[in-house]
């Protein structure tokens, strides 16, 4: 007889987790920590669909926790839904399904990680998977001083590695002044890397990829699109012939540059094309 496996967890159905700890990272960014061994074991670049009961469901990169069997989401309050998630209180429940998507392909050697805003989340998880032989350069990009996140956490995660952490703010109130991409350009002028991993605003990733490929450096980026199902059924996350939630979210830079939607346009919730350029 076909036995029903109902007693096992159904990864594609929201599973409620209690928020056990909240960290205010910046005035607009919070990390919500919960216990869940499945999420805690997700690979770097993977995401979950997060249900805020009664409100909406959002794709979120899976953040690490320093404790075992825990995972987290780091959310910036933005529209109605992310604000609702941001406002969740200790002891309240969120639903998670996943993990979904592929992951970064971690090369050995000297790695450059380039993250902007909450795009740092998958890169922080990547740090959990590196070996002591890795030499890591991490660029943390933010608009202004009090939006810089994960600096201390990254330092402690990298304590056994040769590493450098470069912080940059657009207004120069902390770290270097200017765009993340300027830092990358400077670095690539001085040195080289075995691989570059990036996640953040699409135009930032677009430029990072162009720079990396001009120096023949392996580069991967994690892409965001509107996601409704997260599992390759609804099509809302499509980018040209790619279904980002299933083919990605991590793509090789060389592949992305051939994709004429990447860096230029995305589809809104109705599936209509919108241009990035007009929004930045």
């Amino acid at each position: 007889m076909v036995k029903w496996l109902g007693s096992l967890r159904n990864f594609n159905k929201p599973y409620l987790c209690k928020i056990e700890k909240i960290i205010d990272e910046t005035p607009t960014v919070r990390t919500l920590i919960f216990s869940d061994s499945i999420m805690s074991n997700s690979r770097p670049g993977q995401f979950a669909m997060v249900w805020i009961p009664g409100i909406n469901e959002l794709p979120m990169s899976i953040m690490i926790s320093t404790k075992k069997n825990q995972a987290a989401f780091t959310v910036r309050k933005h529209g109605v839904n992310s604000t609702a998630l941001y406002n969740m209180k200790l002891g309240q429940y969120i639903g998670v399904r996943g993990p979904y998507g592929n992951n970064f392909n971690i090369k050995p050697g000297k790695l450059l990680l380039v993250g902007g805003g909450t795009g740092l989340v998958p890169l922080i998880r990547l740090l959990k998977f590196i070996k002591t032989s890795h030499n890591i350069t991490l660029i943390i990009g933010a608009k202004t001083k009090n939006e810089v996140i994960f600096e201390d956490l990254a330092n402690s995660l990298l304590q056994h590695n040769q590493h450098s952490i470069i912080t940059t703010t657009m207004d120069g109130t902390y770290g270097c002044k200017g765009l993340v991409t300027h830092i990358v350009a400077d670095l690539l002028h001085e040195t080289t890397f075995d691989a570059i991993y990036t996640c953040g605003p699409e135009l930032m990733m677009f430029n990072v990829i162009k720079m990396a490929l001009s120096k023949q450096i392996f580069v991967q980026a994690s892409i965001e699109r509107i996601m409704k199902c997260g599992i390759g059924i609804c099509g809302s996350c499509s980018m040209n012939e790619n279904i980002v939630c299933k083919d990605g979210t991590v793509f090789d830079g060389s592949y992305l540059l051939e994709n004429n939607e990447f860096g230029y346009m995305y589809r809104n919730k109705s599936g209509s094309i919108e241009n990035y350029t007009s929004k930045v």
Binding site: W4, L5, G6, N10, F11, N12, K13, P14, L16, M49, W51, P53, G54, I55, N56, E57, L58, N81, Y93, G95, R97, K228, C229, I231, G232, I233, C234, G235, S236, S238, N240, E241, I243, K246, R267, N268, K269, S270, G271, S272, I273
Partner: protein, 326 residues
């Protein structure tokens, strides 16, 4: 004498070889009334079908045709999430809410189509909605229109239209006089007898029926004590609905002389065969795309071909509805 014998023998040889060849390689192309496709696997509406690039990828993966998301007059963002999740047993609940870019954006994109057999799914409330959309698409290469008379979770469209046979008759009749392109009516189980809807569509001159859409359903999370779907109620798809869909195809084909596209819970080639034996001339593939990805089309075609060889069917037509003989 020798010559005649030789000719006879060559003839026999040819007949024998033809038998052999047709036995080796059954023909899986299929006619759905006036619609002809290379193989009977069609991507169902609402599944990935958002852009020409995706249509092309799916067609290249082996689908005989693709159906677009249901397109409406105006763009729509759809419902809040969760809008899709698993209920186990390869069943899914969804309430996407018919999000789509609207006819103007969509028709612009569709003009790029050169070679893909695309069936455009349309959703609307009145005959005027449908006619307007059909007119806007008249310069595009389109295999057929599929009228969504069966979405179970959006007001005033889908089932709300399908449940009104008179309206269905009007819509079909008017579209038929506005275009040469074949019209398919997609039905589901609503709050009237779906056979009446089919009757009306046939009277209006519809070319084929797709059966069935998702079934109205819901799930409540017992910890949150709330319905899970953003829209609370949605549609059940996948394995759990297969036996219901098979019953509908069998019923329709027993009662009406109209080509049918079977849909609902198809998971592998044997399900596709079951639909064809029940009376379907082709099948649509929906939620299973999650498990088997785009590979599913060629997998089904391969399995179907093997089955036909084994059972000595030369073409799909021979199989359609054969279970009704018993």
């Amino acid at each position: 004498m020798i010559n005649v014998n030789l000719i006879k023998n060559i003839r026999l040889l040819i007949i024998f070889m033809n038998c052999f060849i047709s036995k080796m390689k059954p023909d899986i192309s299929t006619h759905i009334g006036p619609i002809f496709i290379d193989n009977p696997t069609i991507l169902a509406s609402g599944i990935l079908g958002i852009s020409i690039n995706i249509f092309n990828r799916i067609y290249s993966s082996g689908a005989g045709a693709v159906v677009t998301k249901s397109i409406s007059m105006l763009p729509s963002s759809g419902y809040d999430g969760p809008s899709l999740f698993s209920v186990g047993g390869d069943g899914w609940l969804n309430a996407i809410g018919l999000s789509n870019p609207g006819i103007d954006n969509f028709s612009k994109m569709l003009r790029q189509n050169k070679k893909i057999p695309i069936i455009v799914s349309l959703v609307g409330s009145t005959d005027i909605d449908f006619i307007t959309m059909v007119k806007k698409l008249q310069n595009s290469k389109i295999l057929a229109y599929e009228l969504n008379l069966s979405c179970p979770h959006v007001d005033k469209v889908g089932l709300d239209v399908g449940d009104d046979p008179e309206l269905v008759y009007n819509i079909v009749k008017k579209i038929k006089s506005a275009t040469q392109t074949p019209i398919i009516a997609k039905v589901g189980l609503g709050s009237t007898n779906y056979l009446d809807t089919i009757h009306a569509a046939c009277d209006g001159g519809v070319d084929a029926i797709t059966a069935i859409n998702t079934l109205r359903a819901m799930a409540i999370d017992i910890d949150a004590m709330k319905p899970i779907l953003g829209n609370k109620i949605g549609g059940l798809s996948g394995r759990p609905i297969k036996t219901i869909a098979i019953r509908c195809v069998y019923e329709i084909s027993s009662k009406y002389n109209i080509p049918i596209i079977g849909c609902g819970g198809i998971f592998d080639w044997s399900d596709a065969v079951e639909f064809i034996l029940a009376g379907a001339s082709a099948v649509q593939i929906g939620s299973v795309i999650n498990n088997k990805w785009m590979q599913i089309f060629s997998d089904i075609n391969q399995g179907l071909t093997n089955y036909m060889s084994q059972k000595n069917f030369a073409n799909i037509g021979e199989m359609v509805g054969i279970s009704k003989k018993f």
